[in-house]
């Protein structure tokens, strides 16, 4: 392992919502390196264009160049390319929020998002992560794994209730996954965000391996969970089926 590469990424990842900009001293303290090392890495990352140093305040911040890698990933993602026309079609016909997600360890990650004009929550953007077990896409993906593999993943998750509606106990989750496997889709009604109703179906690759999920999210203020499921479950199942590879 090339240790300096690890250190460079630790410097970049130190910048976030709570620390949008940092002085050299703060970078060193946050990453846990001495000031001269922090200087070498911030200098390198500035030269490469990923960090910007404010000429007045001398504070560092991430630059828009950090979007390039994400763009390369998104543009080289064959599933996203296949899914785009279906996401677009669902967005047009339902006028609701449509998402494409993938699972990464215990989390789902949003890779594409068509927001509805009814959407309440603009905090969820490309790259947002959520605990898989309290989301419809996460359960949909788990339901396409072998039961033992899904159980093993559940056992590595930090299970807790985010709302009074969160399904978070092991046995309840395994039952929910089994039910979703039979139905071919998963639901999450206010399990992570209040007011959020979501229905998802897994997208599978060759051999039936789940590679992502497609979901529709609506507001509890406009639909009951029953209405939502009845209206949108067939749509996500059909679209995810079309994107899946046999």
């Amino acid at each position: 392992m090339v240790m300096s590469v690890d250190k460079a990424f630790r410097v970049l990842h130190a910048f976030d919502y709570s620390r949008p900009s940092m002085s050299l001293t703060q970078v060193a303290a946050t990453v846990g390196m001495d000031k001269s090392a922090a200087q070498r890495f911030t200098y390198t990352l500035e030269k490469l264009g990923y960090l910007r140093k404010d000429p007045v305040t001398k504070r560092f911040e991430l630059t828009v160049r950090t979007l390039d890698l994400a763009h390369h990933y998104l543009r080289s993602n064959a599933m996203l390319e296949r899914a785009m026309p279906y996401l677009m079609h669902l967005s047009k016909t339902t006028e609701e929020t449509i998402n494409l997600t993938v699972m990464d360890g215990p989390e789902i990650v949003f890779v594409s998002r068509f927001m509805s004009r009814h959407v309440l929550n603009t905090d969820v953007i490309v790259g947002t992560r959520m605990p898989a077990y309290c989301t419809a896409p996460g359960i949909a993906i788990l339901s396409r794994l072998a039961t033992a593999d899904a159980a093993a993943l559940i056992d590595r998750m930090d299970l807790k209730p985010y709302t009074p509606h969160t399904t978070w106990q092991r046995e309840d989750l395994l039952a929910k996954i089994a039910k979703s496997s039979v139905r071919g889709y998963a639901t999450a009604f206010e399990e992570f965000y209040h007011g959020d109703l979501s229905v998802a179906a897994a997208i599978t690759g060759p051999g039936g391996v789940p590679v992502g999920a497609l979901n529709i999210a609506v507001s509890r203020a406009r639909f009951t969970p029953e209405e939502m499921e009845e209206r949108f479950a067939p749509l996500v199942v059909a679209a995810a089926g079309s994107v899946s590879q046999r």
Copy 2:
């Protein structure tokens, strides 16, 4: 400069639309390093979670973890946070495509995008770059710079016509920038994509420095340029003004 950091990023950036996955030999050839160096960097990037090695084909590809840096940038971007409610509002009231962009050298980069159900082009996503001079956001931003600074930037651009409508000659561009400066907004009618009508206003930070632009894009099939400009220019001017800092 820490050279191994530069090399690691060159390996990551070698993956793109035309090369979504690569063998070790291909990585080495594309980046221009010997195979043992390529092995050290791909191994490191795999351990850090940015590359995945297919156990069967032994080919490498980018992982969803490449979205994390973009997410950190987007979540720590104060302009985006201020702009979000206005983007949302414009999206709801116009039902057209709304974008937030920043300028990076000779290009604009899309940082947020609310797609309309009328949208034709799903190739434009977060992180997409376009030559600034043939876009409304680019001209809007240039029109908020000192004339000499805008001219200096124009001189560094690779000017050429992308469509029969592209404004691409130096004097024409300077005239367009001057006109946009007076009006407070810029237009681009089919200057990069056929059928694309766009109107943009710059978002400024303290001291009037342009930090980005907000634009509305519609299809030529549904509006004439005159209708488009009359209807949407006042909306982008008002929204960009609200997001700007005094």
